[in-house]
Amino acid sequence: MSAESVQPALVRELTGRRSSRFRSGDFLVVIAFLLLAVIVLCALIPATLAPHPPNQQEITKRLLPPSWMERGNSAHLLGTDQLGRDLLSRVIHGARISLIVGFSALVISGIIGVTIGLLAGYYRGWLDDWIMRLADVQLAIPYVLLAIAIIAVIGPSNLNVVLVLAVNGWVVYARLARGQTLSLREREFIQAYRALGARDWRIVVQHILPNLLSAVIVVASLELAGIITLESSLSFLGLGIQPPTVSWGYMLADGRTYLLGGAWWVVTFPGLAITATILSINVLADWLRDVLDPRLKI
């Protein structure tokens, strides 16, 4: 065995890491990635993937169970709802609105929150006091209650749902960005840049922002799950996505009365879709955090 072939093995053993970027738990990451890829595909081309139009009703085929069960119909793989609409098609179509609403609310609230948090943390003073008290006030109001109150005033529409979710979300980013900024601005390298004559905005944008970004991305991915859940809850309450647009939350709300009648599939499949999306996003977020940290790169 030559010295060169020993070394990587030795390094691996000493550092406890494989030289490849993938590490343990990667099986889960691959599954999550594939799952999310399928969901994104559904969001992109629902009409091609779905066997039926999502709102096509066939009253004679109402509440058919999934095809593998007794009484099941092979044309409706996951069964039908109370109006005879194909559940599989509806779940596929629901992906689009969930992801669009989730991501746009996420991006809006992330940009607003991180900007506010950076400014508050870097400049401190009255700006910091006001912003953080406002954040405290908002945190004291239950999430869903605030959303209901806002929707009640501005009325339910697909755009308003995004706005409400964004308004709900900024606090988390602001607090995170502020906290990170507070600790980063005391770090020696920030002081070193100041001593080398760097401008304030450059320090904030070039050095503080990238350093807190990996934390923000991890929180954002967790938030994405939360936003999708909240969107589902709002739709469930009839305040979110309005029919005929299909959303998973609305499907849950719509089908819940039939749960007791034994038609479990009407709520189970949209519920599973929500769970799968959130779970895979969380797993990928966790993986992303590891990859983004330059200290873990070999």
């Binding site: 390298f189 070193a192 001593a195 080398l196 004559g197």
Partner: protein, 325 residues
């Protein structure tokens, strides 16, 4: 020590408000630095060394503030300079390097990017080939294979290399004054010697004056032309290195020198200065060192001595300075 000084600090006071009264971390600090000389700023922790140098760059953190005094650098009063001009001064005419090189580099950028940043901050350093300029900087601080090292991250550098890179960044604008805040404290002894050699070489090559903050007298003996000793926020003695080591005039300096281990001398215990430095919030009347001073008399506990200079250019803050032996 001919001609006008490069830096003239006069009666500098830096205050930090605390719930129990304001603390004067620097209380009437005065010293001068001439072009191209290396001045050691020594004193124990909390004596105001770092805060004094941060004040030179006007980087004292709020709520701390420069309460009074004058800092004249290259003929300009820094305390009245507009903020924008002060910023341009940092990194071009005056630069600072810090104690812990491993945390003084941004962990998410490559070393090359960070050096490039210095060029971005100062229009007069503008160059079309930032990469070559950055590599030249690493070469100047004797980092081997500079072109390849530009792509390295901070954590891939050793402490010594990181400190070299920091010195390089500080020297990018060819400043006439470099402030080094305990540049070798975090490094091991052999690397320490290399960094000190590098500082000495920089002074020779670029005629940069250096203020070296340290609490290690051995380093000042090796490197510095003059030494300024601080105690409890004040300068207590300033003199050339040779004179200071040969015949210290202040009893505090004497105590510091006596507490240094020496080669060829066997002792059970090193000498120490009894007691603690005073609490800056409740300073004693009179001399701040009186409580620990072997020579203190009643006058010392009543009347605060002034910093007085003698004919040979030495300065001491003591009623009963030590006579040369």
């Amino acid at each position: 020590m001919n001609g006008p000084p490069l830096l003239d600090v006069d009666d500098l006071r830096v205050e930090f408000p605390t719930p129990r009264g304001s603390v004067r971390a620097a209380d009437g600090v005065s010293f001068r630095v001439w072009p191209g000389e290396i001045v050691g700023l020594v004193g124990e922790s909390g004596c105001g060394k770092s805060v004094t140098t941060l004040a030179l760059l006007r980087l004292v953190r709020p709520p701390g503030r420069i309460a009074s005094g004058r800092i004249v650098f290259q003929g300009r009063d820094l305390l009245t300079l507009p903020a924008q001009e002060m910023r341009m001064l940092r990194g071009s005419a005056m630069a600072m390097i810090f104690q812990n090189p491993m945390t003084a580099l941004d962990p998410v950028f490559t070393v090359g990017d960070q050096i490039a940043e210095v060029f971005e901050s100062h229009p007069q350093l503008h160059t079309n080939d930032v990469r070559s300029a950055a590599a030249a900087i690493l070469e100047r601080v004797r980092i081997p294979n500079p072109k390849a090292q530009l792509k390295a991250y901070a954590h891939q550098f050793s402490g010594g290399m990181a400190q070299r890179a920091m010195i390089g960044m500080g020297m990018a604008g060819k400043p006439s004054l470099l402030i080094a805040d305990e540049p070798t404290t975090a490094l091991d002894v052999s690397v320490q010697a290399q960094i000190l050699d590098l500082l000495r070489a920089i002074r020779t090559e670029l005629k940069t004056a250096i203020i070296l903050i340290t609490h290690d007298l051995a380093i000042t003996a090796q490197l510095c032309d003059r030494i300024v000793v601080m105690y409890a926020g004040q300068v207590v003695e300033a003199s050339t290195t040779r004179e200071l080591f040969r015949a210290p005039q202040h009893h505090y300096t004497r105590g510091l020198l006596d507490s240094m281990p020496r080669l060829g001398q066997r002792r059970e215990r090193l000498a120490q200065i009894p007691g603690q430095p005073p609490d800056l919030r409740t300073l004693p009347v009179g001399c701040r060192f009186a409580a620990r001073c072997p020579r203190a008399e009643d006058r010392c506990r009543v009347e605060e001595p002034a910093l007085t200079s003698s004919r040979d250019g030495r300065e001491v803050r003591c009623h009963f300075p030590l006579e040369p032996r």
